[in-house]
């Protein structure tokens, strides 16, 4: 007769319950599980202390009328301060300026750096390091120190106007004329941010495997086709990141320059929403209004950021 070969033994039914692996005590297991959270703790504490607590306090302050003096009373005013934000005289102008700053900075924080990074990609060894160091230096100069140097350069008797003199042109007070104050701030911001953006794009390019470009070259693509069809699409997430940075941070990048060079003037011509916010709080001492404006900007920029992040997720590709 035939006898079927038995399958290897298994622990069926009762036997399975009877086999129990040795397990350490609960207290021991809890202790073993804590280190990851302990590592996180310092960062979380800082985040709560410096970001979330002020945010909550700003929301609180926006419902009160208070002039920042510890001795003066805080009066609850409900949504009044938010109504004031939207009827604030300078808001519209500052918002338009903010958009101008963002739009005019984009070529210098995205387009130009991409071009520079692409052109210098093939530089080898030391020359590339030297070149990158040169391009990156401006971001390392403290904004206020840079502002001081630029004030000299742009002074009516400064180098820029001496240069104009060589061509027989009249000197121009760049920072004190309504027509040129904003472009001057823009130019200095672009100068300081461009190198940083070049580094970001260079890092993005390094992350793209050389195989793609080589495969495309063998597939018969020209340099221009490779750039348009392969390199730029693969660089999209890096470029979107730079757009996001510019949109969210151009206000912060320009702030120290505005404060030390033009104070938003002349005649509010170079101000932006961040500078307006600061003026409301620390020049007019209307902490409620400043907080309400801060919360409004926070929400608006938050929505823009969420949109851009969603876009970045959709268009980024995993190199596998």
């Amino acid at each position: 007769m035939f006898v079927e070969l038995a399958v290897p033994a298994t622990l069926a039914g009762e036997g399975r319950a009877a086999v129990q692996a040795a397990r350490p005590a609960l207290a021991r297991r809890l202790l073993a599980a804590t280190p990851p959270y302990l590592y996180l703790l310092p960062a979380l504490a800082c985040l709560v202390l410096w970001t979330y607590k002020p945010l909550v306090e700003a929301v609180q302050l926006s419902f009160y009328d208070w002039n920042l003096l510890p001795t003066s009373p805080m009066t609850y005013v409900g949504l009044d301060k938010y109504r004031q934000v939207f009827t604030q005289a300078g808001l519209r102008h500052a918002a338009v300026n903010t958009v101008i700053y963002i739009v005019c900075l984009l070529p210098f924080s995205v387009v130009l750096p991409t071009a520079v990074a692409l052109v210098t990609r093939r530089l080898g060894g030391r020359s590339r390091d030297v070149y990158r160091a040169l391009v990156f230096t401006p971001i390392l100069v403290a904004p206020v120190a840079a502002a001081a140097v630029w004030r000299w350069l742009l002074d009516p008797t400064g180098l820029s106007n001496q240069a104009l003199g060589w061509f027989g042109l009249a000197p121009h007070n760049w920072l004190r004329e309504e027509s040129t104050a904003l472009p001057a701030i823009l130019a200095i911001t672009a100068w300081s941010m461009c190198g940083f953006a070049v580094l970001v794009v260079s890092a993005g390019l390094t992350g793209i495997s050389a195989d793609y470009g080589e495969a495309a070259a063998i597939d018969g693509a020209t340099g221009w086709q490779i750039l348009r069809w392969v390199t730029l699409p693969l660089l999209r997430s890096t470029l979107l990141f730079l757009v996001l940075m510019t949109v969210l941070l151009s206000g912060q990048w320009t702030f120290p320059l505005l404060d030390s060079l033009t104070q938003g003037g002349p005649a509010e011509s170079s101000t932006n929403v961040y500078y307006l916010l600061w003026e409301l709080g620390f020049r007019n001492f209307d902490s409620g209004l400043a907080s309400a404006a801060g919360i409004v900007f926070f929400v608006v920029f938050g929505l823009i950021a969420a949109g851009l992040v969603a876009l970045a997720d959709r268009f980024s590709f995993h190199d596998n």
Binding site: S209, D211, Y212, E214, A215, A216, A217, I218, D219, G220, A221, T222, Q225, W229, V230, P233, L234, R236, F317, H318, D319, N320
Partner: protein, 387 residues
């Protein structure tokens, strides 16, 4: 369809000679496998043919046209990368159609051609997917499709099967061989896997340290390895290589070493130090107590290990006499070999299965009856092997 000629090609990276004076003639329709261990220069050689690396010396001709300094896109060759290099942001359809799009072919033609190729490679249902949504085998086929979609003069492949699991690799090997037969195109294929080389190639070029060691059909390189390197690279386990001495004795040319005594053929020879090579499958275990056959080569040693390969068995012996450092010798045959660890056994070998190599140069030695001593064989003449 093209004949590729490589003349004195070399590439120096800093102080390293990655490829050193390599000359090769790849006939139209050849399936040439560049085989060698990692770092032997085979990929560098392939990339120079593709135009991705500029050679330091020498030139490359395709159909008598010098293409050494032609950019990759003007060479009209297709390449399959080890990483496949599928464009991650493009669908399978766009990936396969990429070369035609770059050539500005009409959209309708591209679509038709892509569908044709996808049909051949059974990628029909996957045209809308992105590379990351594909399995390793599917990616490999898309990479192949991108090469097939136009009609290139040659196909270059850089270890295209190395990222596949063993079963898929075997299946794809067969498919690639069939594809080569159907297309009749010139293939240049880089691998470090001798099984791929032996099964797929019409010719194998073995490289070591940037230099060409031997070019020949799989049968030639296996049966008549041109050097100690080739002998030791091919075969699993590879050829047994032992230091030995050739000398004349009683009108016979005899090969001796510790535990080795092989009577080769009638003749005389001065005492010469050589390297003796015998493939494990050409050794036979002499059953204990059996009468010793006459005029046969014999090796005696102690069994140190036995490996069960399923269908066959490999026995490892320490061959030598007394306390002298014994050389490891493998014997391979149908299971069971009838060996046990610690056994003292005798192996026999037929003289025609004995390979001799120069101890100094490592090149193969051939016997010329009119000469007194074995002479190094003429170095492989590369200009004639491809003709």
């Amino acid at each position: 369809m093209a004949r590729i000629r490589i003349e004195g090609l070399g590439k120096v990276f800093g102080a390293t000679r990655a490829v050193d004076d390599v000359s090769l003639d790849v006939a139209d329709g050849d399936f040439l496998v560049l085989l060698g261990p990692s770092g032997c220069g085979k990929t560098t050689l392939l990339r120079m043919i593709a135009g991705l690396i500029q050679p330091s010396t020498g030139r490359i001709l395709v159909e008598d046209r010098d293409i050494t300094y032609l950019p990759p896109r003007e060479r009209d060759v297709a390449m399959v990368f080890q990483s496949y290099a599928l464009y991650p942001h493009l669908s399978v359809e766009r990936n396969i159609g990429f070369p035609l799009r770059a050539a500005r072919r009409p959209k309708a033609e591209i679509a038709t051609r892509v569908r044709e190729v996808a049909g051949q490679l059974e990628l029909d249902g996957l045209l809308g997917r992105r590379p990351r949504e594909l399995s390793g085998g599917q990616r490999q086929r898309v990479a192949l499709g991108r090469a097939l979609v136009r009609d290139p003069r040659a196909f270059l492949m850089d270890e295209p099967l190395s990222n596949l699991d063993a079963k898929l690799r075997t299946a794809t090997r067969t498919e690639l061989t069939a594809l080569h037969r159907r297309l009749g195109s010139t293939f240049v294929y880089v691998t470090h896997d001798q099984v791929e080389a032996m099964t797929m190639a019409t010719r194998i070029a073995l490289l070591d340290g940037g230099r060409l060691e031997q070019v020949g059909t799989p049968t030639e390189v296996y049966d008549q390895p041109a050097s100690v390197f080739v002998a030791g690279f091919l075969g699993a386990p590879p050829m047994n290589l032992l230091p030995a001495t050739v000398a004349g004795r009683d009108g016979q040319v005899v090969l001796t070493a510790g535990g080795v005594d092989i009577s080769l053929w009638p003749g005389g020879a001065d005492s010469t130090e050589v390297t003796l090579g015998i493939r494990p499958e050409h050794l036979r275990v002499l059953p204990a107590g059996a009468p010793a056959p006459a005029a046969r080569g014999r090796l005696t040693g102690t069994v140190t290990g036995i490996e069960n390969l399923g269908s066959e068995e490999v026995g490892w012996l320490g061959v030598g006499t007394g306390d002298a450092a014994s050389a490891a010798v493998a014997v391979r045959g149908p299971r069971p070999l009838g060996l046990a660890i610690g056994d003292r056994v005798t192996l026999i070998v037929a003289p025609e299965h004995v390979h001799l190599f120069s101890r100094d140069s490592g090149r193969r030695l051939t016997w010329q009856p009119d000469a007194k001593v074995p002479r190094p064989s003429r170095p492989v003449d590369l200009t004639t092997t491809g003709a």
